[in-house]
């Protein structure tokens, strides 16, 4: 049985965790049901990226609640921004934001994207995310755990 992962998987428990419906899952914004997001790393330590990967992985599976990461802002309903906005990433972030069709949402993921976090006031920071685009929702945590991310996105999709 141990040697045969295929057989084992036939009898294993379900991988995906059942997540209770969060209290904020009302679909407050106009984007109800489905949410396509383009992720922009504006200068993150990659902690948030790990957690986002995990949130969209098989265990938490945010995709079953209608959220999806897409490859181009042209296909997206909004941006999922992580990290402080560094000098190098300020222009690309602005351009990506410009490339998203309206109406759009901006999600600030992690403490750095919200207020600079542990890097607040460091020399390489161009400005806060606030100065470029006001986030519609914020996902606090350093890094936020996958449940928090999934719950926040369910708040947008309403599922």
């Amino acid at each position: 049985m141990r040697r045969l992962p295929v057989l084992r998987s036939l009898f294993a428990r379900r991988t995906t965790e059942d997540l209770p419906r969060p209290s904020n899952a009302s679909g407050g914004l106009r984007l109800r049901g489905s949410l396509q997001l383009r992720h922009v790393d504006a200068g993150s330590c990659n902690g948030c990226e790990l957690e986002i990967t995990s949130a969209f992985g098989p265990h938490y599976d945010a995709a079953r609640f209608g959220a999806r990461l897409v490859a181009s802002p042209r296909h997206a309903d909004g941006l999922l921004v992580t990290g402080v906005v560094t000098r190098n990433m300020a222009v690309p972030l602005r351009k990506t934001l410009e490339a998203v069709p309206r109406p759009r949402v901006v999600v600030a993921c992690g403490d750095c994207a919200i207020d600079g976090g542990v890097f607040a006031g460091a020399y390489g920071i161009a400005s806060g995310l606030e100065a470029i685009a006001r986030p519609d929702i914020q996902i606090p945590g350093c890094p936020p755990d996958p449940t928090t991310i999934t719950d926040a996105l369910r708040g947008l999709t309403g599922r």
């Binding site: 181009s72 042209r74 690309p92 972030l93 351009k95 990506t96 410009e98 490339a99 309206r102």
Partner: protein, 666 residues
Amino acid sequence: MSLLLIGLGLGLAGTAAGALLSPRRRVPAAAVLGSGACVVAFVAAGRALVSGQTSTFRSVELLPLTGVRLSLDPLAALFIVTTAVVGLAALCYGVGYTEGGPRSRTATAMLPAFLTSLLLVPAAASVATFMVAWELMALTSTLLLLVEHRHRAEARDAAQWYGAMTHVGAAAILLGLLLLASRAGGQTFAAIGLRAGAMSPTTRSLAFVLVLVGFASKAGAVPFHVWLPRAHPEAPSPVSALMSAAMVNLGIYGIVRVGDGLLGGGVLWWWLVVVGLGVASALFGALHAAASSDLKRLLAYSTVDNVGLVLIGVGAAGALEVTGHRALAALAMLAALFHLVNHAAFKGCLFLGAGAVQQASGSRDLDRLGGLVHRLPLTALLFGVGALSISALPPFNGFASEWLLLEGLLHGFAAHSAATTTALLAGVAALALTGGLTAAAFVKALGIGFLGQPRTPAAANAREVAPSMLAGMAMLAAPCLLLGIVPGSVVPMLRRAADTGLGDTFARPLRADLGLNLAGFEGAIEPVLLLAAFVGALVVAWASVRLFARRGARRAEAWGCGRELQTARMEYTATSFAEPLQRVFADVLRPDHDLEVTHVAESRYFRQAISYHSRVDDALERTCYRPVIRLVEAWGGFARRAQNGNLHRYLAFGLVALVALLVVLA
């Protein structure tokens, strides 16, 4: 007939004027006389086409020993009308065309001569007259091809290829026709046609294969197409238009005239070979057109593709005629001739458009163009009409004829012979695949060449071309639209030509008078309704955007992964557009890729330069023609060893030969 003679005389007068008058006068004089020739020939042939009458002319004095025989029947008239329209447009265009410097005496004089020979070939009614006209056409077009030889070495290379191919073809035609004439005991087409039925099957088949090789090399059918993608890009654009829209047609004319007319249909396998040539040309041409990034090379390969489609129709007509399905044969022949006429209109327009692009921006490489729709709006519009027509989209003419061709092939399935059905099936498949590939090629030509941002400063500074050039293009764009909207109006004339082509004069039952009927179904494609529906849908779409859109359009930069510096060099190019197709069809196209990476001396982790070359050569040329050329070169090298330029050696040769001769005779 006398009108046609006047037209030919005007053409020759144009040649004389171009050769003899002073530089300031010769260009307008040659253009006016040449246009006169086109108009008069158009009227003469148009009358023959409408009335269906055949008129003849003979003169013993004009050509010593053999005399001249001309005959103007509806089939010949159709080709003359097509040539006349293209010729008029090309001459009008040529007034403003200055690419390659001011026009030389040769160029001015040869253009009317070339045009005259094009008008003369279909009217020729004896082997001698035909071959004289045919060779005149070959020689004048070779000279016109060489007009820009001082500026471009490629022109010389192209002329060499063209000369070799056209002369091998002419030799084959001459052999075939002489064989027929000797067996018939007379060199007029009438005599050959009368006695062809009594010749042995071997003679007839041999003669047909010989003329097929010759005419296929003129028509540019695979594998005799190698001169087309060289000659058409290098010739001045009015000449490319004439070559591609009028001269290539005459190859088809020859096959129809000799195969169906003189030999009276012949054997089934002839026509299956013709369908095979057609399928190969259609697929090969369309694939290369989709992969080319040189605008005129793309158009040349697309000519190979369209010639293939016409050959499929001609072959199907021949096969159906031989198996006794006369009405279906007439439909297939009609469709083939209709497509040929349409091809002349849209390909002429596209070649003239390509010339305008080249003159305005100095390049015909799509990867160096872009954004021309803002700089050359009228050229872009006319080129767009041509591109839509060739992609067979309603309401343009390409759709009408390809639909009719498809209909002819599909109905041919009623001919219950396995070989014929297989050939027709291959034809239908080729038609379907080339339709898609042609659309891809012209999305590329129009999308990369005319839309987007200019890729070079020359493209950014392009200016709209002269009004006479635009008028020339418009003269060919107008038939694209007219023949597409009311194809029914020309069907009776095409039908007369098709019936004559198939060798008889009685009218066959055919339901293609009004619109395009799909017999067996109770519906008809009515292009006028399609056009109305299309315009209606446009109006509805525009109105609903105006009424229901909440806010105006927002302009944003093209998405380039957010990088800071974004230039026109990062645009999608013609090469990158064609890359997926090139990859899928790599077995046929055999693309060459070279990637060279140079590293800096200190470390292999840093690159100094990267160079990438990608080329799509003609695989057939590489595999079939290069070995022959190498063989000829080796033979030439061998001969040079004897020819060392030393007078003593030549005298020694003479002495040895003399001694040998004396020994042998003694």
